[in-house]
Amino acid sequence: MSLSELPDLPSPLVTIHILGRLVQVPEGLTLMKAMEYAGFRLVHGVGCRGGFCGSCGILYRMADDYKLRPALACQTTVAEGMYLARMPFVPTNRAHHDLTQVNLATTTTLLASRYPELARCVACNTCTKACPQELQVMDYVQFALRDDWAEVTRESFDCIQCGLCALRCPADIAQFQVAQLARRAHALHNVAPSPQLAARVASIKAGEHRPELERLLDMDVDGLRALHAAREIEEAS
């Protein structure tokens, strides 16, 4: 029943270029596994291996095509004739800010003041085309220009901060950094704290749950087993 990283079964090979060298790798591998198959031991440009951390951005081009295509190495399948180049991470600027020091109620230029290069957006849509998460990046840049944090949040929530948009942007905007600031500002300013949560934090602070917990701490295991077995399960809503 063992599942290893790579199948041992023979599968058809595809021919690709990795950082300039010609190699043959089994079809169906991700670009990341293909590089490893070819003998690369990855130290940078690899993190979660599952599409969540944004560390594995790469650029590739297909044979007989002029287009450079950005992609996530862990989420893209090799194809015959690919030329691929590994990237380091994109060294974008994160503007210094400490949100506790900003009056979110009055500011209307939070994003543009921290990231004035936003104004240089030429609306070319390159960022949107580059995004492996298929986000409408240009749209959220436009919302950012208007300091509309709620809309930036909605459009950017699934951003994995891979930097591929920034890498391709002619205006050198670090879209994902702007979006991070916008989401936190939105959360702090537009989202009311949960009343239930506040109440529970207060009741814990007041020690209301202590006796019940201490009773469980002192109970013998059989008693706890019985309590556990007798739990009522809340109906899913």
């Binding site: 993190g47 291996r49 994160r94 934090v201 749950h209």
Partner: protein, 551 residues
């Protein structure tokens, strides 16, 4: 290979069976297993219960305890540093608090150490890859906290303790459940965006083994949303982070108190010596050891380094014999094998179905029980679906989620899942997905007290590297919580010690590691293996067989 919407022809007939029985299954409820049935299932099918997967540790504080071979190999391996390799008279960083591991636990500890009074520039987070390249970034399902009026910390305690098969350290469970609501409140203040209903309350869901709906989520990017906000908060405070800096060995003073660590850059192989008043291990889990050959959900750097380092320094581990296999790892397509399918897919209604379209287990049994049922279905009952690359699995009937909650539900709540399959031409809103258990979580770890203190002076631990909180089995949503609760507690306790003037003696040595190495040799352990592992090696066999050591 000819594919029909992402699936090869050989799998389509079974999909048709799943579709055929769906309407009827929507109306029926599969019963939960009785406790004795669940126990039998575990005994017979769970990988942890296979004696050949483990052996007794031969040296060190856990001598005689059973653990998976893959881990014992590393605990008994020789250190990577040998006498003379490292010049310990040259200290590169002299700081208050060294945090090893820049995932969730490490970042939370740093934030709270500052809140407790440490200067940010007297802290150093050293991490193997980049800040946030960590299991913490990958969590999808959610985080538990007893917030709703019909729930309570005591109820949460019962769930966690029962889920852990009554083996957890109770003081730790208490801290976990009692701190939980405060942690969520702290997250609100940092700007974490949890899913909410129209009235502004946080949405709640069930998770495997919970008796109340207390799973709080941020779509299926819960871990990412948390990690990126915590990281941003650490950047606000300008807490120094050394990326691509792996801990290679701890340092100890003349009496064995931990005094910092030797770090190494895996690309340049250059080392640095860090001397610190307190050291906090937050290096996460061990999925990349591929225990018993299982694929894993874990990030690339999850290689048990922290366990090895702490063990050599004399820290006791616990519950290392219990490994969590998540029932639903992707089994198809090949590119996704081992990747997590969040439990939320089941908590939203998707049922596990065999190749004949028949449901064979209640969808939300505790993870170990659920995984065992999948293994039985595939390897004993022969009701598995085989893939063209030789894997097997059972179906998770994801279209049921939309049938129950309405069209668009998957896109709204399971965007990461849907996107992952779409990349490989599978539409999980209309097609079921194939799953098999995958190595997911290190249940045990370094023994700690409720302040994150290990049994070695000067050494703290928090997050997945620590043990005792979850006993032999963690419930979903309790580990995001765990790294917050114990990251905070350990960060604060370490800061308090430092501010109270507690510090190691003047000597900076690797004696403890050499002593452990000697003990291993004495015990007759030979072999070339060195540890910590640092990274798995996935290079192709063919490429390796032609390798010449050149430069």
């Amino acid at each position: 290979m000819k594919l029909e919407q992402g699936y090869p022809e050989s799998m389509l007939a079974s999909i048709a069976e799943v579709e055929r029985t769906r309407a009827e299954r929507l109306e029926t409820r599969f019963p939960k297993l009785e406790a004795t049935e669940a126990e039998q299932l575990l005994q017979r099918y769970h990988p942890d219960y296979r004696p050949e997967g483990k052996r007794a540790i031969a040296v060190g504080p856990n001598r005689g305890d059973q653990a998976p071979h893959e881990l014992v190999d590393l605990l008994e391996a020789q250190p990577r540093i040998t006498p003379g390799d490292v010049d310990l008279s040259r200290i590169d960083h002299e700081i208050d608090l060294l945090i090893l591991g820049g995932g969730g636990a490490g970042t939370v500890a740093a934030l709270w150490a500052v809140a407790e009074g440490l200067e940010p520039n007297q802290i150093l987070i050293a991490t193997k890859l980049r800040h946030g390249d960590a299991n913490s970034m990958m969590a999808q399902g959610g985080i538990q906290a007893a917030v709703a009026p019909g729930d309570s910390p005591a109820q949460h305690f019962l769930d966690a303790y029962g889920g852990g098969h009554f083996t957890n350290r109770r003081e730790l469970v208490r801290a976990l459940v009692e701190d939980a609501p405060g942690i969520l409140r702290w997250h609100e203040k940092l700007g974490v965006l949890y899913d909410r209903d129209t009235a502004g309350e946080m949405l709640r869901k069930h998770g495997g083994g919970t008796s109340r709906m207390r799973m709080h989520s941020a779509k299926d990017y819960t871990g990412m949303e948390l990690m990126r906000v915590l990281r941003d908060a650490a950047r606000d405070l300008e807490i120094p982070v050394l990326e691509f800096a792996s801990a290679l060995e701890l340092l100890t003073d003349e009496v064995g108190r931990v005094a910092g660590a030797v770090l190494v850059d895996l690309e340049t192989s250059c080392y640095r010596v860090v001397r610190a008043r307190a050291t906090l291990l937050a290096t996460g889990g061990f999925g990349r050891l591929h225990i018993q050959g299982y694929a894993t959900t874990n990030h690339y750097g999850a290689t048990a380094d922290g366990l090895v380092l702490a063990y050599r320094a004399g820290a006791r581990l616990r519950d290392m014999d219990a490994v969590q296999y998540h029932p639903t790892g992707a089994a198809y397509p090949e590119q996704l094998v081992g990747q997590l399918i969040t439990e939320k897919v089941r908590s939203m209604g998707a049922q596990p179905i065999n190749c004949h379209g028949v449901q064979f287990v209640y969808p939300l049994e505790p993870r170990d029980v659920e995984a065992s049922a999948f293994i039985r279905e595939c390897y004993e009952r022969g009701n598995q679906v085989d893939t063209p690359t030789g894997f097997s699995g059972v179906w998770l009937d994801s279209p049921m989620v939309e049938a129950i909650h309405g069209p668009g539900t998957i896109e709204r709540n399971l965007a990461a899942m849907a996107r992952m399959f779409r990349r490989f031409d599978i539409d999980m809103t209309r097609q079921p997905i194939l799953v098999f258990p995958t190595l997911h979580y290190q249940n045990g770890g370094i023994a700690i007290d409720p302040d994150g203190r290990t049994e070695v002076p000067g050494l703290f631990a928090a997050g997945e590297v620590s043990g005792g909180i979850h006993g032999k089995n963690r419930l979903m949503g309790n580990s995001l919580l765990d790294y917050n609760v114990f990251g905070r507690r350990a960060g604060r306790a370490a800061a308090q010690d430092i501010l109270a003037g507690v510090a190691p003696g003047p000597a900076v040595t690797l004696e403890h590691a050499y002593r452990h190495a000697e003990a291993c040799r004495q015990a007759g352990i030979t072999g070339e293996l060195r540890s910590p592992l640092l990274l798995p090696d996935y290079r192709g066999k063919e490429a390796l067989s032609r390798r010449i050591d050149l430069l």
